[in-house]
């Protein structure tokens, strides 16, 4: 409403500026015969130049004559200088313009080109929105700002990296994993995440470096399924189709039949068979089987097609799952740290404080971890809920 009021005031000001001069009366003052004034000034200057000796006397005389002629001519011209009688028609047309045409034209042009329904949205203001109303993009932006100021916050990077994966920003995800790895160089899950992001960034091509990293993860933690999947892909891409087929079969043998990536893996295996891959020997099951972490291609595709609310829900779901698991089974300091961090990023201070309390409870036998929890709490300005 204020907005339209301001528009009306502006428009009225314009109309007034158009109308006011009409009311003023003008008479021609001798002073308004400005060209005469100029010539008089010129005469004076010539006189001054002459006095200073800048020009020769005969030159000055000739110049004076010339200017005087102009002055006389201008003067004569002004003798017949009278303004024409004010005409009604012109007056009316100005009034009509000011009162009708100006507002009409301005308003219709504005309605054509303007967007009165969109408010200003300064970035700082949007980021300050309470967490409940903020959508995923704002949460991400807020985290990004936080990480820009604290680029060594490995936990923060570890939280945001999977979010990038889910929103299809694979290059950012890769960088986030890399930054997190800078702080936790030996973290195998971050390594696997980095490799996965790299592969997605390269449109599914398993790069040499990614393969190297995956092999390292696989060696250190053979029960993790994720590396098997991508290593199998790598073999297929390098043309070692027989070996690739073997790798797929090994993976499929150990897979949970409800695993979301199962179909994709099967499709890739079938493709290899169609290409003529032959299996040598039997597939060996993977040692101790756990669930592969991290989203699969289908997950990712689904995430990309999700609406904002769905994605929000997905993130919250991730946090909740972690929360529940830690509650039930307990966890390492790293996992608790990630939960606390995630709560902070979601703007849920109370839950974060509560998580700290639970973490302290859960890790009470591990003095080193307790100390780190305290450090984390101090850094985040959180007192454990009593």
């Amino acid at each position: 409403m204020t907005f339209w009021l301001v528009l009306a005031i502006l428009t009225a000001a314009v109309a007034l500026t158009v109308l006011v001069p009409l009311a003023r009366s003008h008479k021609v003052h001798p002073e308004e015969r400005n060209d005469e004034a100029v010539f008089r000034a010129q005469l004076e200057e010539i006189q001054k130049d002459l006095e200073r000796g800048v020009i020769a006397p005969d030159m000055a005389e000739a110049a004076k004559i010339e200017v005087s002629r102009r002055l006389l001519a201008a003067h004569k011209e002004h003798q017949g200088d009278d303004r024409s009688a004010p005409s009604k028609m012109r007056l009316r047309s100005v009034q009509l313009t000011a009162v009708v045409l100006v507002p009409l034209a301005a308003l219709s042009l504005y309605l054509q080109f303007g967007s009165p329904e969109i408010p200003d949205q300064p970035r700082a203001m949007r980021l300050a929105q309470p967490a409940g109303e903020a959508d995923l993009d704002i949460l991400i932006a807020r985290t990004e700002d936080h990480l820009k100021e604290n680029p060594t916050d490995g936990q923060g990077w570890a939280v945001i990296a999977p979010v990038y994966m889910r929103t299809g920003q694979f290059d950012k995800a890769r960088r986030a994993f890399a930054n997190a790895l800078n702080q936790f160089p030996e973290n195998l899950e971050l390594m696997a995440g980095w490799a996965e992001a790299t592969i997605f960034e390269n449109d599914g091509k398993v790069t040499e470096e990614a393969e190297k990293v995956l092999r390292r993860v696989n060696l250190a933690k053979p029960e993790m399924l994720q590396p098997y999947y991508y290593l199998a892909m790598a073999l297929g891409q390098k043309g070692q189709i027989n070996e690739a087929l073997g790798a797929w079969n090994t993976l499929l043998k150990s897979a949970d039949p409800s695993a979301p990536w199962l179909e994709a893996a099967k499709a890739q295996r079938d493709e290899l068979i169609a290409k003529g891959a032959v299996m040598e020997g039997d597939a060996q099951p993977i040692p101790a089987v756990g669930q592969p972490k991290g989203p699969s291609a289908e997950d990712m595709e689904a995430a990309a097609q999700m609406s904002v609310e769905d994605r929000n829900a997905m993130i919250s779901q991730m946090v909740l799952t972690l929360d529940e698991r830690l509650n039930e089974q307990g966890g390492s300091f790293d996992e608790w740290g990630r939960l606390i961090q995630a709560r902070i990023i979601l703007g849920e201070q109370a839950e974060a404080a509560e998580a700290i309390a639970r973490a302290r409870e859960n890790l009470k036998d591990d003095t080193a971890a307790l100390e780190r929890i305290d450090q984390l709490a101090a850094r985040l300005n959180l007192a454990p809920a009593q």
Partner: protein
């Protein structure tokens, strides 16, 4: 709300421009004071409304409001504050809005400061300015609207072009625009004079301050643009005859001619039709420049997004204004009263020659700039017209200008005595010869070509010849030093402005000639610790390291510059990579010795730790820009001349004095 308010204000400004285009002109033609009286108020109002729009856009940039398509595309919340601000005009829409802002600013300035101009002329001028304002406001709103919104708004902008994060680039466009657009007022004055059919010496005096202001800013804008290209692009070049540079240079040439012909018109009531024509031409060239830059028809570092609709719109504006003003000129100019006559050998004669050469030079630049376009349109051949062409054509045309400058300064109005002047200039000529010989000796006589020596001679002739006016006028050899100094103090400002303007040109030419003849470029692969000897300097490559900047990471290479065993400079050129865009950028390192510079840029590193190093030696290069500063200073002094403000309320005493002057002059019979 602020943004939408800005948008509405812009639209209102368009409506006001439409009113301004019609009624004051109508009033001026019908001598209706009520309609004429509308003009100043509307001009100021139009400026205020455009200010609101510009402020709203700036606000959106400063607060990183990405609900505007324009900020989203061209800004980023990580930009340093200064560059968020300069980012407002670092893009097509914003820069056109700045163009319009300066346009209406000039209208408002005329409304406020030109109270001494007769109401009729002022109303018609502001009306004609209203046409230009209307055309460009319409262009902004319809074809390049900076207030386009996006909903839902993104949270981060995508504009972090590191090239645009530069102080030189932040101030270069506004200065250039003030110059370009200032000529619109001159154009409006000319169109008004044609419409009213009244053109006399007084008109020239009223217009001259506006020519001067535009000319000063255009000069500075071109100079800063040139220095920016020199230190930022890393090629060591300071003028590329790039179409966009030419686009600003052509109005400068005709503007300079206009500056001079307006003096003749003011003093002698002559060259009237020509002066009006130059005024129309100069603004047409400004429009042409805007078209060339904004439509993207030319290959250039300056082109924004190529959008045919926008190009066509500006082309239409260009054709309407050029065609319209030429038609007006052809129709009305013959009706103007003929101007005075003058002898060929006189101050005005020399100014006519100056005009002739400057406009011819402009025509040569015009052909070189547009020929490739025309040829491609008709034959499909793609050519590039570069430095060799302009050196061949522009250079020789400017030679007589430089030779004539000192003569013009000393020739009297009406009838001059060329031999007398030549005699008075003998000392200046001798000085120029001596200075040339000295410089040739200093640079090494064996390496100096005849052409270079001739160039030096021309430059020194222009410098000493123009400075000689002071010596000559002071009559120091006749009346002794003390009395001569008293005379010098009493000189009118025009003397100083002429001397500075011309000497500045000579200094620029001296810098250009020396740089062209003696600059040298060395590209070497250097390894840490390696020293090479070049132009009397010992250059040692120390090492390289990585350094983190605000939003970039750079590889800094350090070189020690020694002369005669003493360290005279530590050079640190760098290669930057901007974090968020990954865009690479070279940062040059320049050391200044006297007026000369040594210029470093680095390239790639090889496996053995070697780095490609480009070293330029640029003797006397800073004179190029120092000269332009001196020229501008001359312009400023001319602008401060009290006489240009004369006209408004004349005191009774003065009027009396003038009346008695008429009384004494009028009865004298004609020559």
């Amino acid at each position: 709300m602020i943004i939408e308010l800005g948008h509405y204000a812009l639209i209102l400004a368009l409506v006001v421009a439409a009113v301004q285009s019609v009624f004051p002109v109508w009033g001026a033609l019908k001598s209706d004071h009520r309609l004429m009286g509308m003009a100043p108020g509307l001009a100021v109002l139009m400026f205020l409304l455009t200010c609101v729009a510009f402020a709203a856009l700036t606000w959106a940039y400063l607060t990183s409001d990405f609900s505007l398509l324009n900020t989203y595309q061209n800004s980023h919340s990580d930009k340093p504050l200064l560059y968020k601000f300069s980012g407002v005009w670092g893009n097509h829409e914003g820069s056109i809005l700045l163009w319009v802002l300066i346009l209406v600013l000039f209208g408002a300035l005329v409304a406020v400061f030109s109270r001494n101009v007769p109401q009729q002329l002022r109303a018609a001028t502001l009306g004609a300015q209203g046409w230009v304002s209307f055309a460009f406001l319409l262009f902004v709103i319809v074809a390049s609207n900076p207030f386009e919104r996006i909903s839902p708004a993104p949270l981060q902008g995508s504009g972090l072009n590191p090239m645009l994060q530069d102080v030189g680039l932040a101030i270069h466009p506004p200065l250039l625009y003030i110059g370009y657009v200032g000529f619109s007022i001159v154009f409006a004055f000319a169109a008004a004079a044609l419409m009213l059919g009244k053109l006399d010496a007084a008109w020239a005096r009223w217009v001259r301050p506006w020519i001067l202001v535009s000319w000063i800013f255009l000069t500075l804008g071109i100079a800063i643009g040139s220095y920016w290209a020199y230190y930022e692009l890393g090629w060591g070049g300071w003028w590329f005859w790039d179409p966009v540079e030419n686009a600003s240079f052509m109005p400068w040439l005709t503007g300079t001619a206009l500056l001079h012909s307006a003096i003749v018109m003011e003093r002698r009531d002559a060259l009237k039709v020509w002066t009006v024509f130059l005024a129309l031409l100069t603004f047409s060239l400004s429009l042409l420049g805007t078209f060339l830059v904004r439509s993207g028809v030319l290959t250039s570092v300056h082109a924004f997004a190529v959008d045919p609709a926008r190009g066509l719109f500006i082309l239409a504006i260009l054709l309407i204004f050029v065609g319209g003003s030429l038609t007006l000129f052809a129709w009305r100019a013959p009706l103007l009263r003929q101007g005075g006559l003058f002898a060929p050998i006189s101050r005005e004669g020399s100014l006519v020659l100056n005009n002739l050469f400057l406009t011819t030079a402009c025509a040569a630049v015009f052909v070189g700039t547009l020929y490739p376009l025309v040829l491609e349109a008709f034959s499909g051949d793609k050519i590039s017209v570069g430095e060799p062409f302009f050196n061949l054509t522009f250079g020789p045309i400017m030679v007589p200008v430089l030779i004539l400058i000192p003569f013009g300064q000393l020739l009297a109005w009406k009838r001059g005595d060329i031999w007398g002047v030549a005699q008075r200039l003998t000392s200046a000529f001798v000085l120029a010869i001596l200075a040339t010989a000295g410089l040739v000796w200093f640079m090494g006589a064996s390496t100096t070509s005849i052409m270079t020596a001739f160039g030096f001679g021309l430059a020194f002739w222009a410098i000493f010849g123009s400075l000689w006016e002071i010596v000559d006028r002071s009559q120091v050899f006749k009346i002794g030093f003390a009395r001569a100094m008293a005379r010098v103090k009493g000189f009118p400002p025009t003397v100083w402005s002429t001397v500075l303007g011309h000497a500045g040109l000579g200094i620029t030419v001296l810098g250009i000639v020396t740089t062209l003849a003696f600059e040298s470029e060395h590209v070497e692969v250097m390894h840490p610790g390696e020293t090479l000897e070049q132009n009397g300097y010992h250059i040692t490559y120390e090492n390289s390291w990585t350094r983190n900047g605000a939003n970039y990471q750079e590889l800094v290479s350090q070189y020690t510059l020694r002369k005669g065993g003493n360290v005279v400079g530590i050079m640190e050129p760098a290669k930057r990579a901007y974090v968020s865009s990954g865009m690479p950028m070279s940062e040059t390192s320049i050391a200044t010795f006297g007026f000369s510079q040594v210029y470093f840029a680095t390239g790639d590193t090889d496996e053995n730790g070697g780095i490609v190093t480009r070293i330029y030696f640029k003797p006397l290069i800073t004179l190029i820009w120092i000269g332009t500063l001196i020229m501008s200073l001359g312009g400023v002094i001319a602008l401060l001349d009290r006489r240009l403000r004369v006209g408004a309320p004349v005191s009774a005493r003065k009027r009396k004095a003038a009346k008695s002057a008429i009384a004494s002059a009028a009865p004298t019979p004609a020559e």
